[in-house]
């Protein structure tokens, strides 16, 4: 039995002013195993964040079933959801000041989830130190978030999300505001914590490179899962790629393909009987001027 089982999950938003109903999730079916680290990829407005909010117990599903471990999230009351967030789930958001309270130190920030569980002060401080040490922030524990770099803030946010030892870690584009090097560092911490703490982690991202560092990749388009694959397979099977194509005709190619094939800004699209072929435009030889000697 999977750790997370989602069946026919629907989420419809209704605007107060105009009464317009906007379906964000239209029948999601998903299974996630315990300790798995998966990424959700999809274009803006596809429903990735909504799925994450539902899983975080921050919004109620309109229909469908969600089982996480031995609890049914769709049957929770508001109080249950608070307790679920308090005990079972940790979150990390793209915007730094949504993860941390800006006016207090990161140590105090990390302590807050433990305070909510009633953990004694000594234990709280000890664990906060350990966590911050794991994300290499042990030398900055008394600093306020405004005194840290972007990567450090996100690492502190990660420590905060793990402070109460949740069994599910949810992250919404945690590397969105970071450069590739810092993003890579954060991901390594992510992977390390996932492995050492053994928690199930779900990460929403736009970045295929980030996604490929997870165990499994799930694609969402228009509130539905359009496909998923094991990222290991993606790396080995070089002749078949499932890529994202949006309704405007934009194709999102994996970055490693772009890098390895040295794809330039423009590609040629050829119609074939069996489909379309993307090929690289051959570079024209540069005209060189004969130098007069």
């Amino acid at each position: 039995m999977s750790f997370i089982e989602i069946r026919d999950l629907m989420k419809i938003y209704q605007t107060k002013e105009t009464n317009v109903r906007v379906p964000a999730l239209r029948g999601i079916e998903l299974d996630v195993n315990e300790g798995e680290f998966i990424s959700i990829i999809g274009p803006s407005g596809s429903g990735k964040t909504t799925l994450l909010l539902v899983l975080a117990g921050m919004t109620t599903p309109s229909a469908g079933q969600i089982r996480i471990g031995d609890v049914r999230l769709d049957q929770f009351s508001e109080e249950d959801r608070s307790m679920y967030r308090r005990h079972k789930v940790g979150t990390l958001w793209q915007i730094p000041n949504r993860n941390l309270i800006w006016e207090i130190s990161i140590l105090e920030n990390v302590e807050i989830p433990m305070r909510l569980l009633g953990i004694p002060r000594e234990e709280r401080v000890k664990r906060a130190h350990e966590l911050l040490s794991e994300v290499s922030l042990d030398h900055r524990i008394h600093h306020k978030p405004s005194q840290l770099s972007g990567g450090e803030v996100q690492r502190a946010g990660l420590a905060c999300a793990l402070a109460h030892q949740p069994y599910l870690l949810l992250a919404d584009e945690p590397t969105g505001e970071l450069d590739s090097k810092t993003a890579g560092e954060l991901l390594r911490y992510f992977q390390h914590l996932n492995e050492t703490h053994g928690i199930t982690a779900i990460m929403v991202t736009h970045d295929f490179d980030v996604a490929k560092s997870t165990d499994k990749l799930i694609q969402i388009v228009d509130g539905r899962i359009s496909g998923f694959s094991r990222t290991q397979d993606l790396k080995t099977i070089r002749d078949v790629h499932k890529v994202y194509l949006d309704s405007y005709g934009n194709i999102q190619l994996p970055r490693y393909l772009l890098e390895t094939l040295e794809v330039q800004k423009e590609v040629l699209v050829e119609e074939k009987d069996e489909g379309i072929l993307l090929s690289q435009e051959k570079e024209k030889p540069k005209k060189t001027k004969n130098k007069k000697t």
């Binding site: 967030r85 308090r86 993860n99 309270i101 006016e103 105090e108 807050i112 305070r115 405004s146």
Partner: protein
């Protein structure tokens, strides 16, 4: 859980301790208070006893609230650390609210406590006086004891209903007085004069007191012996000395000279001793230490009297044939004014009235029916009651919008806090904190900030009140400025009001903070007007205000004028104005669009861009606009209302007095004196006016008050406004050329059921000592008929209505104006004729100084000048009623206006720090940024100024309607002091722009990087 309980228990202990300190401090202040308030202290203790249970209930309720939500305590430390700055802002706001409430309460209480004491000091006649007319006086002391006994009987019966009556009535005194005059030589003026010197007969305590006060001579022991009670001034102007014999005459006609010719109307008296009444000890009643000057006690308008003992004086009366022992008896009951509770004035009035009723009953039982009660004390208390009602109405009128403003301002400040706290609380919610826990934390925070604010606000209220006292001249009574008085019950009221305000404010904050919101709502632009516009709250308020106004104007409520003005009239105005202010905000987007179009046509690029902010942030602009509009309206009304009220009062003073200077009981036969006054350079003209009361003692008592005037000099001297009649004064007076022709008051014509041009027959009780000589009447009074012709009508006639002696009189009154010749056709007691001299002061001369100058010439009569009579003038007791409220409101409005704009600018700029940073990043200079934001605030100020002036004008008109509800003559016109308004508005705009400029400059100086990073 244990920890939480400990915190709750500690907090309760601290609150109790603080309250104890507060209570003890104020109790000390209370016990040091004026001995006059001895009785009030008991009331204060009762109030305290009542207050403590309320607090005891309040604190547990808060405790239960906290205990119920106790889980929130474990997030207290980080949250408090994260949010103490915002808590402080909120706390300052609440402190301000508390301070404003308390200072108003202190004002009101200080007034009520201290003004009454000053009222008492201005009216020494602290007795109830029974006046028995035409009493037959027997030359025997036994009569004295039996009549005095009637009063004691009455007191015995009244004592059954009034527990502490024996403490309240300190003493009773009985004496008789007969109007007589003498003939003497004035060595200063070198002329013979006929000064009034009433004959007084007394016994008991007064006899003992007078015996000890003789400065020169001995006590009278025989018949036809008497003491001369004279002022030093009178003494110097007369030849009356010890052992001199003086003639004593009874005025048998209006002209004293007629009495000199009648041997039956005169006798002679030996003066055995002189009492200089302005140099001797006042008469002290009982062992109370309270006293009264002799001239006040005997009401000696001319400053002189002859006094002997009951039997001896009665013998003199009997010697004057025409008198036959008839005199007026006075029984004075001296009241202990220290026992009067100024806070419960109505019940105190009721006690006095009960005593009066018992007295009347007692005298009637013994067959004395011609009885009048003169209770200056009741009049004084009723005046005080009316005045403090007016004062409270005023305070209420200005207090309520100020409190509303303060609360809005505080809520506004709290909004800033909320915006900052929102993010913290959302993070906590995401981490699994329950709303109940957050609620618990907020309640605890509210308790802490509330307690601190309550404590500091209450004490801050004192210096604010003291500051306003100094700046506004509040509590300045005549030449005495009394300090602001703190009194426990005022503190209790202030605390209760403040606790209410705190609960209201904190409740709003907590509810707003706990409101379920989506985290994705951050930074949403509030494009629409506030939500209450959707539900037409503005129109509902206006409608409700109008309905309440109509209720206030209902004739059925006219009996409860003060109460209805306070509780219906003022609230209805506040509702209507608030509704109106809300309503006009609907024009704000339209105004912004129009301004954008104009500025863009004028090629003012930056302003045209910036005023669009108003349309973009309608919600916050509308909120600020409401507050600024309200404070502008207040500023306007605080200028217009006092100016109008001042003019109304000046007109009122002229209306009451009739001329610049008026001398009552003027010796009109003294031609030299009149000439001397006329010759003064300060005097433009003079005229003699005689005021006559004709009584008709039929089934219902009717009094015809006639003002007899000299038609030519009256027009030049007296005050008369063109709107007082439909016909010109001069033309109207010309109609009084036929005998017994009179002018009649317009509204009384209907009651008389008569028309102008008709004749009317009236019956009146004629009086003349000569009637006594006609056998077989032997009574100086008889009913006579008189036919008057009503030649013209007037609406209002100065002096006429207010001059009638109406104390305790029942029945109808009619008011006429007639020529001097009217007196030739009537017979009336000299006591029913009061002679006045009206004086008009020449242009460029000061009225008060002229009155003082005239005072050196005139030795008899009472001199009044219009300056002294103005109901509200800056250095009079009444001024405090008006100017304190007005000035403090003006200062408050001023401060709030500046604070709100500065706060609004700060909030706007904090919200827009990212926008500012971005604008700076793309190269917009600091100066341009200042121009950009200041344009918005100036636009907002322009909008609020225009509307504030219009609404302020409407508010002033309505407030005047309420303030003049109890007195509608003479009619008033709204006075608009344009220069003063422009100055204040100019200062206000300057200060407000300065208030907005400071945060604008500060924010534009911030480093771009820091701003962008912090607002990410």
């Amino acid at each position: 859980m244990k920890k939480g309980n400990a915190v709750v228990s500690n907090s309760r202990r601290y609150i109790t301790q603080n309250l104890f300190i507060l209570t003890r401090t104020f109790y000390r202040l209370m016990t040091d208070s004026d001995p006059l308030q001895e009785k009030t202290n008991k009331a204060v203790l009762w109030s305290m006893l009542l207050f403590l249970p309320i607090l005891m209930i309040l604190v547990p309720i808060l405790d239960i609230f906290l205990i119920f939500f106790l889980p929130g305590l474990h997030i207290f430390k980080p949250l408090f650390k994260a949010g103490w700055k915002y808590g402080l802002i909120s706390s300052i706001g609440v402190t301000l609210a508390v301070a404003i409430i308390t200072q108003y309460v202190f004002f009101i209480y200080s007034y009520q406590y201290q003004a009454f004491g000053l009222y008492l000091s201005e009216e020494p006649r602290s007795y109830i006086q029974m006046e028995l007319d035409y009493s037959y006086i027997i030359p025997s002391p036994s009569q004295y004891f039996s009549i005095d006994g009637f009063a004691n009987d009455a007191l015995f019966f009244a004592g059954k209903e009034i527990e502490d009556l024996d403490q309240r009535i300190l003493d009773t005194e009985l004496y008789f007085k007969r109007a007589t005059f003498t003939q003497t030589y004035d060595p200063v003026e070198n002329e013979n004069t006929l000064p009034n010197m009433p004959l007084i007969g007394t016994e008991g305590g007064l006899r003992s007191h007078l015996s000890l006060q003789i400065s020169n001579g001995t006590i009278p022991t025989e018949d036809f012996e008497a003491l001369a009670l004279v002022t030093r001034e009178f003494y110097n102007h007369s030849s009356i000395r010890v052992n001199s014999t003086i003639p004593l005459y009874v005025p048998i006609a209006l002209d004293k000279r007629a009495s000199l010719q009648s041997p039956a109307a005169q006798t002679e008296l030996n003066i055995t001793g002189i009492v200089i009444i302005d140099e001797v000890r006042d008469y002290t009643f009982g062992n109370s230490g309270l006293s009264i000057p002799l001239d006040v006690l005997f009401e000696l308008e001319g400053g002189a009297a002859v006094v002997s003992w009951w039997k001896e004086a009665a013998s003199v009366l009997h010697d004057i044939a025409v008198t036959g022992g008839l005199a007026t008896l006075y029984e004075d009951l001296f009241y202990d004014v220290r026992l009067i509770n100024a806070f419960n004035i109505q019940s105190e009035i009721n006690i006095l009235k009960l005593i009066i009723e018992e007295l009347k009953q007692s005298y009637v039982t013994f067959g004395i029916t011609e009885l009048r009660v003169n209770s200056y004390l009741v009049n004084l208390m009723e005046n005080f009651r009316d005045e403090y009602n007016l004062y409270q109405t005023f305070m209420f009128a200005f207090l309520s919008p100020i409190i509303v403003l303060t609360i809005i301002l505080t809520v506004y400040a709290a909004n800033l806090v909320r915006k900052k706290r929102d993010r913290q609380l959302t993070i906590l919610t995401e981490r699994g904190t329950r709303r109940r826990e957050i609620g618990s934390y907020l309640a605890l925070e509210a308790l802490i900030t509330g307690t601190i604010s309550l404590f500091f606000g209450t004490f801050l209220g004192v210096p604010i009140a003291a500051l306003l006292t100094k700046s506004s001249g509040f509590l300045s009574f005549g030449n005495t400025t009394i300090p602001l008085k703190l009194e426990l019950s005022s503190v209790i009221i202030a605390l209760l009001g403040s606790v209410g305000a705190i609960i209201l404010i904190q409740l709003f904050n907590t509810i707003t903070l706990l409101k379920k919101r989506d985290i994705e709502d951050y930074g949403r632009i509030e494009k629409s007007l506030p939500i209450y516009y959707k539900y037409f709250v503005d129109l509902i308020l206006i409608a409700f205000g109008i309905v309440t106004w109509f209720i206030f104007k209902m004739p059925a409520l006219s009996n409860y004028q003060d109460q209805s003005a306070k509780f219906i009239g003022i609230p209805s105005i506040v509702l209507m104005l608030f509704g109106l202010i809300l309503f006009v905000q609907r024009l704000l987007p339209l105004f912004a669009r129009g301004l954008a179009r104009i500025t863009s046509k004028l090629k003012m690029d930056i302003p045209s861009l910036s005023v669009r902010e108003i349309s973009r942030y309608q919600k916050s602009f509308a909120r600020s606009s409401v507050i600024i509009c309200l404070s502008f309206s207040l500023v306007i009304s605080t200028i217009v209302v006092p100016s109008t009220y001042q003019d109304f009062n000046t007109d009122g003073a002229y209306y009451d007095l009739g001329a610049d200077i008026v001398i009552r009981s003027f010796p009109i036969e003294n031609e030299n004196l009149k000439q001397n006054i006329r010759n003064l350079t300060e005097v433009e003209s003079i005229t003699v006016v005689r005021f006559i009361n004709l009584h008709d003692e039929g089934d219902t008592t009717v009094t015809y008050s006639v003002l007899a005037i000299n038609r030519t000099s009256f027009v030049d001297t007296a005050y008369f406004r063109s709107d007082f009649s439909d016909v010109e004064l001069k033309d109207m007076l010309e109609l009084l050329d036929t005998p017994l022709s009179v002018l009649v008051q317009q509204d009384e014509l209907n009651i008389l059921d008569d028309q102008v041009g008709e004749e009317k027959s009236i019956t009146y009780t004629a009086y003349s000592e000569e009637f006594r000589l006609i056998p077989p009447i032997t009574d100086p009074t008889m009913d006579l008929n008189l036919t008057i012709s009503l030649v013209e009508k007037y609406k209002y006639w100065p002096n006429l209505v207010s001059s009638i002696s109406i104390s305790n009189a029942l029945g109808s009154f009619y008011h006429f104006v007639a020529d001097f010749s009217f007196l030739e056709h009537i017979y009336v007691s000299p006591l029913d004729v009061i002679d006045y001299l009206y004086i008009k002061v020449a242009e460029g001369y000061d009225i008060e100084t002229t009155a003082e100058r005239i005072g050196t010439i005139v030795t008899t009569g009472l001199i009044y000048n219009v300056e002294d009579e103005i109901y509200v003038k800056p250095d009079s007791p009444r001024s405090s009623i008006l100017y304190s409220a007005i000035n403090s409101t003006l200062i408050m409005s001023f401060a709030i206006n500046v604070i709100i704009l500065a706060l609004f600018a700060s909030i706007q700029l904090i919200d827009k720090s990212k926008e500012i940073a971005t604008m700076k990043a793309i190269g917009i200079s600091g100066g341009q940024l200042i121009k950009y934001y200041l344009s918005v605030y100036i636009a907002l100020l322009a909008f609020t100024t225009i509307l504030g002036i219009i609404i302020g004008y409407i508010a002033s008109a309505m407030l005047m309607g309420v303030l003049t509800f109890t007195r509608n003559i003479p009619p008033y016109f709204l006075t608009i002091p344009v220069r003063q308004i422009l100055t204040v508005i100019g200062l206000l705009l300057g200060a407000a722009i300065l208030g907005a400029t400071i945060p604008t400059i500060t924010s534009t100086r911030q480093e771009i990087g820091t701003e962008l990073r912090q607002s990410a």
